[in-house]
Structures are given as structure tokens and as C-alpha cells.
């Protein structure tokens, strides 16, 4: 279906917010995403993006330019049409005490964590390798242990700071090596762990098995249907 671009705001050189109309009557849960098709002839597949904010008539995305499709989307103007399918994936419905949850994001993985961060009573570690996300934290008024691999008060990886928090559950989204480090931690310390797992998708709607991820039981699960929020302790980060 087609939606209209309402607004686009650049928060840093390569990171922008895209707000589009929402004509479908549905509620979008944390973790659910949408897939966008650009008219580019050499990038024919749809691209998945997390819905960071869902309101009655508007969807908001936080997107980082990493290649041709994201660059094309970054050039859309107010009023342009967007070929989009939503909502996709399973939303997070598990009964969880968010006060006893530690959220961890690396880079653009923050897009999938933002929908969880409500009120002020949450613990959140955010790793920003290149120092690009300061305005993102400000825009969404996020309170985070904000770390950086080079400068900044908290020098190091997001995963270096886990011990500073007291929690029972972890929810993480970011690069695979981060998700894997979190699993090692969760297993060593007996924590419940949800990983928001991102894999290259072809259809995003369960038709092709392109996005399947291996679990420790030796089978595969489709991220676009069963995820992207998965039991992080079960995934085999090959």
C-alpha cells in the first residue's frame, strides 16, 4: 500500500527520522516493523525498518543511511508516496517487569529499543561507535548510560557496563557480536534474554525462508514471522 511522507528530520549526517501517514487501522507493538519498496531498479527487494513510534494517523521511523535504498529514502520529500507493508513480525507481548529489565542497544539497533522506553523508570545502555546518536537521545528524551568506543565518559563497548546494573531480564538489539556477548553473559549469570535479531530479508512476510536463523535445537526459525524478538539464549550466533 502507499503512504505519504509527512515529515523528515535529519538528526545527524546519516541518521534521520521519517514520519509517514498511517491509513491502516492497527496497533503496532514494540518489535514490529514495516517493509519499504523503493523504485530503484537495482535494489528490487523491500527493506525492513522498525516502527519506532506508532500513533493513530502517523508512523515514525529512525533510519541510518548505509546503502542505496536507505539513501533513496533519505531523499524523499514531504508528500512523496512510500510503498510500504505493515505491521510485520510478532510484537512483544510477554508479561515483563520493565523495572527489572536492562535494555542494551548498539548503533541503529536503538530504533528497536525506543518503543520499549516509556516513562523514566528504565535502565538503558547505549553504545554509539561513531558518536552519531547524541541528537537521537535528545529527540526522544532518552536517559541512557551512553558509551563510546573511543572518547566519552564511558569508554568501551555497551556490553562492558552491564555489571553496573541490577536486573533479571535483558533486551538487546545491535550488531551480531554484541548479541552474542549478551548471550554469553545471560547464560553465565542465569538471566532471561530477548535478542532483537536482524537478518537480511527477501520477503519479510514468511514466504521464502531467507531470514531463518539457527537455534540451539538445530532447527531454524523465520525472523520475519516468529521474530524479530527472539529468545536470545536459544539462538546459535554462527
Amino acid at each position: 500500500m502507499n503512504e505519504k511522507v509527512l515529515e523528515k528530520i535529519f538528526l545527524s549526517k546519516n541518521i534521520f527520522l521519517l514520519k509517514i501517514s498511517k491509513s491502516k487501522d492497527c496497533k503496532i507493538l514494540p518489535g514490529q516493523f514495516a517493509s519499504i519498496k523503493t523504485p530503484l531498479k537495482d535494489k528490487i527487494l523491500r527493506r525492513p525498518f522498525t516502527v519506532v513510534k506508532d500513533s493513530q494517523k502517523k508512523l515514525t521511523f529512525l533510519i541510518k543511511v548505509v546503502g542505496d535504498s536507505t539513501e533513496y529514502i533519505s531523499n524523499l520529500k514531504k508528500g512523496d508516496l512510500v510503498d510500504i507493508i505493515y505491521p510485520l513480525g510478532k510484537g512483544f507481548e510477554e508479561k515483563t517487569d520493565f523495572k527489572r529489565t536492562l535494555f542494551i542497544a548498539g548503533g541503529i539497533g536503538i530504533a528497536a529499543i525506543i518503543p520499549f522506553l516509556r516513562g523514566k523508570d528504565y535502565s538503558f545502555i547505549f553504545g554509539d561507535k561513531e558518536g552519531e546518536y547524541e541528537n537521537v537521545l535528545k529527540y526522544f528524551s532518552l536517559k541512557a548510560l551512553y558509551c563510546h568506543e573511543k572518547k566519552n565518559k564511558f569508554k568501551g563497548f555497551a556490553t562492558d557496563f552491564i555489571n553496573r546494573f541490577d536486573f533479571d531480564i535483558m533486551i538487546g538489539c545491535g550488531p551480531k557480536n554484541m548479541l552474542k556477548t549478551l548471550k554469553d553473559y545471560a547464560q553465565k549469570n542465569g538471566k532471561k534474554y530477548f535478542a532483537i535479531y536482524e537478518e537480511v530479508m527477501a520477503c519479510g512476510v514468511g514466504l521464502c525462508n531467507g531470514c531463518s536463523v539457527k537455534t540451539q535445537n538445530g532447527d531454524y526459525i523465520k525472523i520475519c514471522k516468529e521474530g524479530p524478538i527472539l529468545n536470545g539464549n536459544l539462538i546459535d550466533y554462527e
Partner: protein
Amino acid sequence: MNNTKIKIGKTTLNFPILGSSGCSGWGVELQDFNDMDFIGGFVTKSITLKNKIGNKQPRIKEVYGGLLNSIGLENNGVHYFVEKILPKMKKFKCAKFLNLAPFSREDLLSLIDILDKEKGFDGYEINISCPNITKQNLNFNSNLLEAKKLLKGVRRLTEKTLLLKLSPSFVESFEIAKFAEMEGFDGISFTNTYIATAVDVENRKFVFDNIQAGFSGPAIKPLSLFNVYKMTKFVKIPVIGIGGILNLNDVLEYLMVGAVGVQIGTGLLIQPNILEKLSRELQDYMVKENIGDIGKIIGCVKESL
């Protein structure tokens, strides 16, 4: 009323457009996007006798004009299919074909033996052209003798519609199709993906664990269109054209060179509603062009000026 119906074996399809194997899930996934009464039908993901876990990631690589896939026939095996999936598929009125990927003749005989006791589908598409399972499946397609040994007498095992899906990467496909015709198969699904590869230059390794993968999408359309044209000259049984279809014009091209129907794979991944969309567009086209019967389009291409 314009007639868009075609017949393949014992199966009547309301439209000559199906979702192809591996890109239609189990059919169930299509219903969110298509009116299942307004599509020709679909072919399921490949079913193997035993549970098959599939290939490691990466499984998909987008390339210019299409994509390479290395899925590796991931499925839970035939018994799981019969118990858990078939009951959900049964309700659809469109044509439903089960794609079977045998690793041996015994496999194929068991698959048909198990499935033929069930109801709720129209027929089988036997797949010997999976580019990702070279030794156990694709070898039948690259060797006429092996293919004959596999397929001989299979027709006697089932009353259902019987299709054979072949690879465009081997010239043997034409002779194998001819053999299938002699054996009483009802149709040929042509083409599967082209065997292809890609290199990860930075790491100096192949992108896929398996080295080879299957190439599909708009870039293969002219190749598959010619292969399908050649195939319709080679056999008299219906040929279902597959490869790179994205729009109605592509569908019409395949029908005009002689395909009785078409299947859509990659196009369906991009636009999950494409089956209903193109079925409606085909109907509108026939009304506009005053074509009473789809048979008037099939094979209508002029071969000389």
C-alpha cells in the same frame, strides 16, 4: 464472460498464474495479501521425506536485476507437513500443488505413497532442479539416465496431476521433459533458478557456504522466456513458464510463446499481492482487447513477419 481458465492434467485453474515453490510459503502466508479465490493457485515449498534444516546464513544476496538464494530446502519433512500444514492449506479453493524434492527413487516413492492417501490438494510438482542440493537432487537433472531411473513408472502411483520442475542450467532438461511426457506427466514447470555465484571480495571468499546458489528475478526473464519457448516446441504437454515475472506484460510474453500458465517467485517476494493483482489485470486486459478465451493468447506469437 471472458474465460481465463486453463487445464493442466486433471486440474482446472481459474487463472493461469500461480505462486512458485519456495516463494509461496505453504500458501497460508499468501492469504493476508491475496483473495485466494481470485488467484490461479500456488506450489508449496519443497517437501522432503525427512526433516531438512537448510543452509547456513547468508541465504539471500541481492544482485543486479535479481537475487541469489541458497535456502537449502528447509522444511520439517513430509509427516509434519501432513499433520500440521496440509489441514491449514485444504480450505483454499485455488489450485494447490505440492513440490516434492526427492534425494533418491525410494524417497520419491515414499513421498507419493504417504501423500496420496491425503486429500485437499491437486497434484505434485517433482523438483529435480534445486541448485542448492547438488549431489542428492540436482544430479537427476544433469544426467538423463539418472532422471529416467528416478521417474520411470511414477505416473502409475498417482491419479493426481503430475508436473516436473526442471533447471535451465542443463541442456538435459529438454530430453528429460520428453521422457516425462512419454511417461504420462501432465506438465513441465520451467525454469527453476540459474546456477550462479557471488564473491565477497573483501574477505576473498564465496558469499555462500555452498559456493553455488540459484539466480532469479527480472534479469533472468529473457533467458527463461526463450527456454520456455524452446520447451513448448519440444514437448506437447503443457509448459508452465517461470522466471523473472514482475508484471502483466511479462505474463503475456510467456503465454504468447506457448506457456499454458506461469508461476511467479521473486516477484511475489517483492509484491506479496501480485497473484491477485495480475489475475485482475489479465481479466481487464482480455475485456479491453476483446479476447473471449485465454486460449487465444497461448502460443499466439507470430514466428514470421
